[in-house]
Symmetry: D2
Subunit: 301 residues, 4 copies
């Protein structure tokens, strides 16, 4: 019986990198979680334990920290591209790299109405993300966000659905709709190649498009909201060709207060933990580039 | 050998209550985690399983939801007082109650620069908290916050400490100082009794005092910062007589980049998970009331 | 600009199902987390909110619970197949289903050396898993486990690796090797079609093969251990054609005790949290069936 | 307005210590999470940042690791006592110490029916715990366990409880009872002083008493089970004078299958997350020593 090695990668996951820019008295901080993974001619270490082609994960970690000093980190997409290209360009046997970065948000502490020079408070748990893939001289960039928790207290209905003997759900014309957005969007090959993307502005406006679509879409289903959110990003950012969204439906159950002779007109809810709905989908621009390895080893949604 | 029942309490923990105020088209939401616990003449159920004096935890949960409808929830201290007094006042055998509430923060989604009427995004993971204890006709209120993550990129030193054969830590005159603040503050008996406290303003200004003290204290030790933070709250809010703080020292380790011929002047850090320092202490106003049961069954810090 | 809907699925995630078999006085319990997802002709709900083809996630949940009563749950693969085939077979517009099940382990409490009839204690956090995909009349089964935490206190080396200017890791001929195994293995199309698989025995022996390979492989790299583990499963179970493994390298760092004039011959370690190595790979039997949709929407490793 | 420093302590939390005993080819491992906290004359650092009396938390961490090498760790109570006495005995200004240790469980991997010499798999998430307090020449020992998850599929009733207008819970004579046991037990002053305690045997038999009491008590309330569990420990171990238990009632809700024309005779359950009941209490031997500082800074239950 013959057995072969299939796809594989290895790296250092969740390097917790914090940088402080100390030009002048006003400091700036960045807080990143960086995961690197390398691919290439790695059969020997798997089959015989010959590590001569293995770039240790410890070296990958060192590179992350050293690169953060050698140049400004810049936008997370730029930092991920620097790292990915370095690994692929520096080792003949390493033909591919995937760099994931999550950015954690901070804001300045206000003291007497003035933002402090060097004191910060953590903002929400929402993370800005990127996943950069390098394979030889090709690159793909997929950016996005996760843990953006949003809720609409009205403007959401759910009815007219398919029914069978296991259906007990009442149809409703007004419900709370809440989710924790995980969104990833893929940039066009051309935009990445021409280096014409303002990553910060692209992120800020894509994020705002998601939020506005969530807020303003009168929702007949979370699927409809998902599609509206993805479409809004594509309409706003020409350099983006595909959006993938994973939207847990965080059920808010109107509590039955009738035993206590109380009406409950969608005013009092139990926020349930599990189970939860999970709505996932992709929205694409017509003529989008072939995704190549952009999504390879990412979760699909 | 004789055995006796000691202190005990029971209740329903972590009721996830979300309310929507729907007066007019502009909605307001509240997101609370409410835990109730009752105390009293509960020996029978422990010794024989006779439950005739047990107010079921399910009833406690129902009461939380019903009370949220019968009146506006109001400030979390008010809601906790309503609940605690109800349980103690309604059942002869229930002589005491402790109600814990965490409030989760949301902000309106901006659409084209305008806050949306009924769409919200979760703010930081920081929670506003209260712990109200009722015992007969006495009440104690301990409010505060937790998971307020803050960081100073300079303005922190640590040196001049006691050394022994196990000491290897280098003394530093500049370091990153980061912590996740858990603070609880106790209100004076008189202020609670006279119902003169503006809970919302009290919280907002106490929180701001904590933040400002953290930001502006040039720190020679996290203990010094802790004491400054506690003192700032007491100076700002006369109705508060004691502050207890638990401050994990979230170590940010300057990475040694010298093997790569790079200097690291406090610019590149590894944010470590464990172990972490843990600095805990209480700061009291002279002549503070005896705490009575205010802290009973809470963690000490 | 034209925009289209891409791949999508929706369902109810993490239904927490516990069943009790009460034949006679000796009870048996099963503790499962079941997630269903459906695929098919779902464009309308995304584009217009027309839900006429949507089988509500609530209905999916009800089906899980009802099916657990209508027949014995049986092995998790059988239960997932029943559910998946039901959804695809019952609704014309639903052309595909993916059912994920995690099984949580319990053992009987011993009382005076005798296993108790109806009292149980939770075993380790290790979960037995399955991911069943149905598409029309085709099915794929991928089973496995996760959160199997293992450690070798010797029998692991790491040296001879590629070096560059960012390499500082010392080469070692003896180290602690620890990981949390996530393994998934794919069954051959023929074995699934012929229904010849004893799922319980297949799981038990595949798991044992993983453990024995981890224990007995003198490891020169975690990649070598990964390949040995995958190979061991393939050698043991002819019905399995592919194994995918994700192995975090949970670093145990020998503490430098030399400042205290103490040697540390791999006796005292700090178990680090982050970062960690992450070694991932697939091992395949030659001539393995095309995977089809077996891994679709699963994480790659 | 005068302000004073109240109770305080500081230390290094969650040192993740793993030791390997390498006598001969059969290795033994220990996996501990150790937290130290010191108390004493620490006003200066709080008020002025004068650290001359501060034993750095980094030194505390070093001491933990060095002590693990200087002598065998032994039972966690012994290791905690060694550490606590060291800190109080070595620094004039340090008058008290509290050492918390959690022990994580591992078992040997079986290979062909034989326990392997140096390969291990993690057992359940249950932790054996101790909390040792030293104050001058006094010591207190509180040991226990946590995260011991247990379930009874029958032998539990709940009825006859107090009712009011908010009561909707149906009375039941058969239910699933599940909890995650956190138990702490205090040793008598005399037993600790005379060093007559076989810590390993004491733990093993106390744990077994808890399990047997849970299994064999026909439960009319979780309070009754709690009292039975505490009593069982006291009856089994004369050196223990007090047991405190915190028992979340992990609700298993029998799913209403009547819409599907299915009976559900306590066979199919939804395991709920939140809210959950929380039953807490202490059980004492008559004439138990005054607890002194045994529970100081621990959560009450």
């Amino acid at each position: 019986m013959a057995i072969t090695l299939g796809a594989n990668q290895y790296g250092k996951a969740e390097n917790r990198l914090v940088t402080v820019s100390r030009q002048g008295s006003v400091h700036h901080i960045r807080d990143l979680t960086v995961s690197t993974a390398l691919r290439g001619d790695l059969t020997d270490t798997h089959l015989t334990g010959d590590n001569s082609k293995v770039v240790p994960t410890d070296t990958q970690k060192n590179t992350v920290y050293a690169f953060a000093k050698q140049e400004q980190v810049g936008q997370i997409e730029q930092f991920a591209l620097r790292l990915g290209r370095h690994f692929v360009g520096s080792f003949e046997q390493i033909t591919g790299a995937r760099v994931l970065i999550d950015e954690h948000a901070w804001q300045r502490i206000d003291v007497d109405g003035t933002p402090h020079d060097h004191s910060f408070a953590r903002s929400s748990e929402e993370k800005r993300t990127t996943a950069v893939t390098v394979e030889g001289d090709r690159v793909w960039v997929v950016s996005g966000l996760r843990d953006l928790v949003v809720l609409k207290s009205t403007g959401s209905e759910f009815h007219g659905y398919s029914k069978d003997r296991y259906t007990t759900l009442p149809e409703v014309t007004d419900r709370v709709l809440a989710t924790a957005v995980r969104a990833r969007w893929r940039f066009s090959d051309r935009a990445v190649a021409e280096q014409e993307i303002d990553w910060a502005e692209s992120f800020a406006t894509a994020r705002q498009a998601l939020l506005a679509a969530f807020a303003t879409t009168h929702s007949l289903s979370l699927q409809q909201t998902l599609y509206a959110m993805g479409t809004a990003v594509l309409r706003t950012r020409p350099e983006i060709v595909e959006v993938r969204l994973s939207l847990p439906n965080k059920h808010h159950v109107a509590v039955d207060l009738s035993p206590f002779d109380l009406a409950n007109d969608n005013e009092v809810f139990h926020a349930a933990d599990r189970p939860y709905g999970l709505i996932e989908g992709a929205v694409l621009r017509d003529g989008a580039d072939d995704p190549g390895l952009a999504w390879h080893t990412l979760s699909m949604f």
